[in-house]
């Protein structure tokens, strides 16, 4: 047994002490566990829950959505389905693409002009999300031209059946607006 082996062994033994020191330090550090039913986590800035509709700045009841259907088309799992109807007079097929928008949103390919009034308006009837198939890829959120989709921050989402994960996002938006205005009134 050479001196080198002995030196190596002493070095290895020292590494054991270093290891014990690390666990002792960790032992004394405060825990990072959050005891859920009594406390909830707060650091949700980067959390991706299921998608949710974003309301207009001046109207919490109406989503920003322009019903272009990009999200439904781009979703790789086909989670999103939306239905809408049109109101107002239909002048010509060219006008079909024009949408009555909030003042903060420009018409696509209109060079930033605000749209002419009293034309066709699309009204969103249904915006359903089947969260069972969602892979949280975020293409819909990324691609939405008017920023009408965002990830929710609902970490504690629990369900017992498949139906519990089929969301009516429009209904959620409206009920949220209701509770918010209720809170504001209170």
């Amino acid at each position: 047994m050479s001196m080198k082996t002995i030196g190596q062994t002493i070095k290895s033994l020292w590494s054991l002490i270093v290891g014990l020191k690390i666990t002792t330090v960790e032992f004394c550090r405060p825990q990072i566990t959050v005891h859920f039913p009594r406390k909830e986590v707060t650091n949700l800035g980067t959390y991706r829950g299921h998608i949710d509709l974003v309301p207009l700045a001046n109207d919490a009841q109406t989503p920003r959505c322009i019903m272009c259907g990009y999200c439904a088309d781009t979703c790789p799992s086909g989670c999103i389905s939306l239905k809408f109807h049109m109101t107002g007079e239909e002048v010509n097929p060219e006008q079909r693409r024009r949408l009555l928008l909030g003042l903060d949103v420009a018409v696509p390919r209109s060079g930033g002009k605000t749209p002419p009034p009293d034309k066709i308006e699309r009204v969103l009837d249904k915006f359903d999300l089947n969260y069972n198939y969602c892979s949280l890829c975020g293409l819909c959120v990324q691609g939405c031209p008017v920023g009408s989709l965002a990830f929710s921050r609902d970490v504690y989402l629990v369900g017992r059946a498949r139906q519990d994960f089929e969301f009516d996002l429009l209904g959620r938006l409206k009920s949220r607006a209701g509770t918010n205005s209720g809170k504001a009134a209170a």
């Binding site: 054991l16 002792t24 032992f27 405060p30």
Partner: protein, 325 residues
């Protein structure tokens, strides 16, 4: 009448055995809780928390679950050996506790060959692991048993060598005498025999099959090793025995090296228990710090390092004792 009965040697021994068994049952609960809490704290978790105040009733719930489970004998198993093994594992533990001096009076049986008794009966544990592995007709069980034998045979040698060094120094195998020789912290054998203490503690970790030497029950390689096939209290008794052996080796270490019940202010028994549980805490830190060694490493540490060092230490002790005389 009862006091008279307790005064007889037989009565004293029986009372001690009853007290020991009660202590072991309670100790199992305490150590399960302690181990899980230590593990949790090291990993920045709270450990068991929900059952009872701060999770204190978790071990009780676990024990009730184990008691309530069905006992299954695997197909093709040797039922007699299979069910004998847990009891052979646990029964000697109670005897191992008899000669340990918990306090000046709290000694189950003051005997001349106490140390020898403990070493002999704790050796039986290896037999129970072999029976469990062989009897359960399971390849993992058999592999675990084979490992247990190789490990126990190897590590009993340095364990005995380190204990012998103390026996040479004190000139007695009576644990009470050894403890009485250490009065005041500076006369603890730890400071005269540091190498023996290190060798003893490493060998004791291996003897109790604790990580990083838990090869007989290495869960990532052998499912659960020798107790793979045991359900309910069959497993529970092995578990209880493992924790009891931890207390035995730590109690012997305390008596041999750390002055036993020697300490100021409080009565001796509290000092003894405090030292024992401090050593147990170190064993738990070992488990949650060090990764499991490979089998060849395990035997290399023993045959190439611990045994030569133990022998050298023994010869040096013998020489010094001869010169002092």
């Amino acid at each position: 009448m009862i006091i008279e009965l307790l005064a007889t040697p037989l009565g004293h021994t029986v009372a001690a055995l009853v007290a020991i068994l009660a202590f072991l049952g309670l100790n199992g609960l305490v150590m399960v809780y302690m181990e899980r809490k230590v593990c949790g704290f090291i990993q920045l978790r709270p450990g068991p928390f929900e059952v009872g105040p701060r999770g204190l009733l978790q071990p009780v719930a676990d024990a009730l679950k184990l008691v309530g489970k069905q006992l299954v004998t695997p197909q093709g198993a040797d039922a007699l050996l299979f069910w004998l093994a847990p009891f052979i594992s646990f029964a000697p533990v109670a005897i191992c506790f008899l000669p340990i001096p918990f306090g000046p009076i709290a000694t189950g049986m003051n005997m001349n060959l106490g140390l020898l008794l403990i070493l002999a009966f704790s050796g039986l544990n290896a037999l129970s692991l072999v029976l469990a592995g062989w009897g359960s007709n399971n390849k993992y069980g058999l592999l675990g048993a084979a490992r247990a034998v190789a490990q126990s045979v190897a590590y009993e040698v340095p364990l005995l060598l380190s204990v012998l060094a103390i026996a040479f120094q004190v000139g007695s195998l009576n644990l009470s005498t050894i403890v009485e020789g250490q009065k005041g912290i500076l006369s603890w054998n730890l400071f005269y025999q540091p190498l023996a203490f290190v060798i003893y503690f490493i060998s004791a970790t291996a003897e109790t099959n604790r990580a990083p030497f838990d090869l007989p029950e290495a869960e990532s390689e052998l499912t659960a090793g020798f107790h793979t096939e045991y359900s309910g209290m069959g497993f529970g008794i092995f578990f209880l025995a493992e924790y009891s052996y931890m207390i035995v080796v730590c109690a012997v270490a305390t008596a041999l090296f750390l002055g036993g019940y020697d300490g100021p202010f409080a009565p001796g028994i509290w000092w003894f228990l405090a030292k024992v549980f401090f050593l147990v805490l170190i064993l738990m830190f070992f488990r949650w710090t060090f990764p499991r060694v490979r089998f060849d490493q395990l035997l290399n540490i023993c045959w190439k390092w611990l045994i030569p060092l133990g022998l050298a230490n023994l010869i040096a002790t013998a020489l010094v004792m001869k010169l002092v005389q």
